[in-house]
Subunit: 473 residues, 2 copies
């Protein structure tokens, strides 16, 4: 529970109506989209502006109260679970697009705007915001920035980080920081913008962002290619890139995933294929035609037994929407769906898929694998049940092996989901001692009281899971 | 002078032949390409590998000896002047390209490789490394990474930062850090890669880098457009972008610059034009044709009195080479050429050019302005003489006004040259107190003894200039 003094001061700042600490409210914010992690916050606060946030942070810093900034909570790494209690900070009142600047190709936005809304608004003006995380229909842009979200278009267009030009943020000491601007080039000092992007709310609270936009590509084509052999599909991916073609998306689905997605979405996906590549190219129409033709040829050379190019925009969208629904579709099968995003260099995809299947077999687990093949960013997904403790233990062992294998293949433990609480025990695999130490030094320099989203990124021995504080119950 | 113990230990590590401390050798490394800054180092060391660098850093950290990592010293911000003495660390023995990976589109390189060599090697394989700083013929890639170098292609392709996927670096405590990898997506922990990029050697020593490559665009066209009115040229820049065309380069030269460059390069530049835009587009040949046609129309609508499209590759290259020679050409006119790179949002270029000319007039200075108009990254260049103290004072006042104006227009004090010692007194204009404090906290966390390139980035009251230590003379 918050000390009375803290509660009074926060209410003084935001008003009664934007401070909540009833059991029901706290329960709602005790978890995010990540299975297996739950802990009660002490209060939920919804400030109206940066100045209010700065004041709240100063109070919390003085009393060493944890703050968990939270967008829509769609992250899959327990990044917004309030593991050490404290204040969950919401952006529902900071949900305005402040400016779309067509001359400088930028959008300036508050953190609470839904990602899809940004995409819609800029596309209406013939502009393009490429990062498209799976949850873009409900995720908030502030959350995307905190997590450095990826998406289907990462291969050609990069990730959220590549589009953040400037930030306003409240630091753990309550000071307001401004970084970057509407600038294509800026080397004035350390890259604080990108230090904040992907820092998962552990270094400060992002209160405004200026994002880079591109001209909207005039044309787009989508192709679905079917393979009998999963390894030939992986080889086709490598061959496409080796032919100097960078598709906008290059998605992989294995047979178990295809079956589930088709059952869910009924768009006519070929459930008899062992693997599918969903390929989209955008750009100038002449170039798009050319690329899709070359891609078809390359896939056929790699034993694709069917290459189907979507004939209408609607058909193309149905395919992409079906792919985006993969996680939702999978989550219908079993009570718990645990999805990971170990990532390898593109050339290692075939090896990684093989390793994942071997590991699943070894631990006798149901697995579906899909993901962004062009990025080497795979989502092996275990269908399980948290109540089955024995099976969950096998799942955890399997994931650990998957992470170790990814790093051994030159990859990483997380491509786009973040470390959060879920992957913090494995971060040392990727960063080594020097990397972890460096991160800790940076964290303690900016947040000596460790109030900003504690329990994330940095592994603790006392890892909390499914902890409901009984004082509230 | 280095303590005997330190000298002995460093010689033990690198060998006699790679340790130098004669007066002549130290004099050579007492300055870089930046006018007005000079200070003697205590020694010059040329290690052969990362392990040797780690050992040297440990010795220096123990004895609190400054280390200045130095590529070719082409930076223009006194970033590699050994202002507090110590050891200048060279990469002449670490000059190998380690791998070009055509499947993952990456190059892995030691820091001492010349930028142009990287470009040549990858272009031979149909690949493309876009960052092209003005000094690429002699600059080292390690220096480019330390400075986050820009170049002519920044508008369309971004800067060095956008191509660094992974780093090996020796931290100030001598530990070896590995970040990133051949990965399109990686969110495992803070973005240490980009914290190091552009940190100007103040946070560590980069010993290896993995860089992202693109497919080489198959076609390229270059156009020269001539304007009677400098503001119409600036308006044409905005209009091109507003028409959703992003040229590969979009360079601006004012009349004084054109005259000097033509005299130097004799490529037939139109010295009667008040302003010139040099525009290059690359990509698919069909799209390039289309874009160059649209750009020509837009320029004519903005009162360009001539639009000339280069007819051959040789002609196009002569134009680009002439533009690249601008600084060399200008430096022939007066003993001292001081070039800045204040940067504004693209929409403010006309206002910035106007302000620069007013400031030059106010302080009665000769100024030539050229630069990357598409980025809002201008290079106002004063032609002066360091021996004329009175004039140099006016130059400094003029620059201060230029920096203040740039920041007022939403810009920054440096777009691509870095802060170094030269712009550290102005950094607060851009970052404010919160920004400077944050940087200091990060710096002290990683380098508590402040051995890494001291006197850079952070302003000191006791700024040293043209200091030759007489003990050696």
């Amino acid at each position: 529970m918050l000390p009375d003094e803290v509660k009074e001061q926060i209410i003084e700042i935001v008003g009664e109506q934007d401070f909540q600490d009833s059991y029901t409210n706290k329960l709602v914010y005790s978890y995010d989209a990540t299975p297996q992690f739950q802990a009660m916050p002490d209060a939920i606060v919804a400030p109206h502006n940066t100045e209010q946030i700065a004041q709240i942070v100063k109070v919390c810093n003085r009393f060493k109260i944890p703050i968990v900034p939270r967008g829509s909570g769609t992250n899959l790494s327990a990044g917004t679970t309030p593991l050490e209690g404290g204040v969950v900070l919401l952006f529902k009142h900071m949900d305005k697009i402040l400016e779309i600047d067509e001359e400088n190709l930028t959008i300036t936005t508050q953190p609470g705007v839904i990602t899809q809304e940004i995409i819609n608004q800029v596309e209406e003006r013939g502009l393009f915001y490429p990062p498209d995380p799976g949850s873009l229909n409900i995720s908030q842009i502030g959350g995307n920035i905190n997590e450095n979200s990826g998406g289907l278009r990462g291969l050609k267009y990069g990730v959220t980080r590549d589009y953040v030009l400037g930030l306003e943020a409240v630091l753990p000491n309550g000071e307001i920081l401004h970084t970057g601007g509407k600038l294509a080039k800026d080397v004035a000092g350390y890259d604080l913008t990108r230090l904040l992007v992907g820092s998962e709310g552990t270094l400060g609270i992002i209160t405004e962002a200026t994002l880079k936009l591109l001209p909207l590509p005039p044309a787009k084509k989508t192709a679905l290619t079917l393979f009998e052999d999963i390894h030939m599909a992986a080889k086709a991916v490598s061959d496409i890139i080796a032919h100097k073609i960078i598709p906008a998306t290059l998605e992989f689905l294995d047979q178990p995933t295809i079956k589930v997605v088709e059952e869910f979405s009924k768009v006519g996906l070929p459930t008899h294929a062992k693997a599918v590549l969903l390929i989209e190219q955008d750009g100038d129409s002449h170039k798009v035609e050319q690329d899709i033709k070359s891609i078809s040829t390359i896939c056929k050379q790699n034993e694709a037994f069917e290459v189907h190019v979507a004939q209408t925009k609607e058909e193309a969208e149905a395919l992409t929407t079906a792919r985006r629904a993969a996680l939702s579709a999978l989550s219908r099968l079993k009570p718990t769906t645990i999805l990971e995003d170990a990532t390898v260099p593109r050339s290692e995809i075939a090896n990684m898929v093989k390793a994942i299947n071997n590991i699943a077999e070894k631990y006798e687990l149901d697995i579906c694998t899909f993901g962004h093949a062009g990025d080497g960013n795979l989502h092996p997904t275990f269908l399980t049940d948290v109540r089955n403790k024995e099976e969950i233990e096998r799942v955890e062992k399997a994931f650990e092996e998957i992470f170790i294998t990814a790093v051994e293949l030159g990859g990483t433990i997380t491509g786009e989901h973040g470390v959060g609480a879920m992957k913090s025990p494995y971060l040392h695999l990727k960063l080594g001692e020097a990397g972890i130490n460096t991160m800790k030094q940076l964290k303690l320099a900016l947040d000596p009281n460790q109030i900003m989203n504690p329990g994330k990124m940095f592994a603790k021995s006392n890892r909390k899971k499914v902890v409901i504080k009984h004082e509230y119950a």
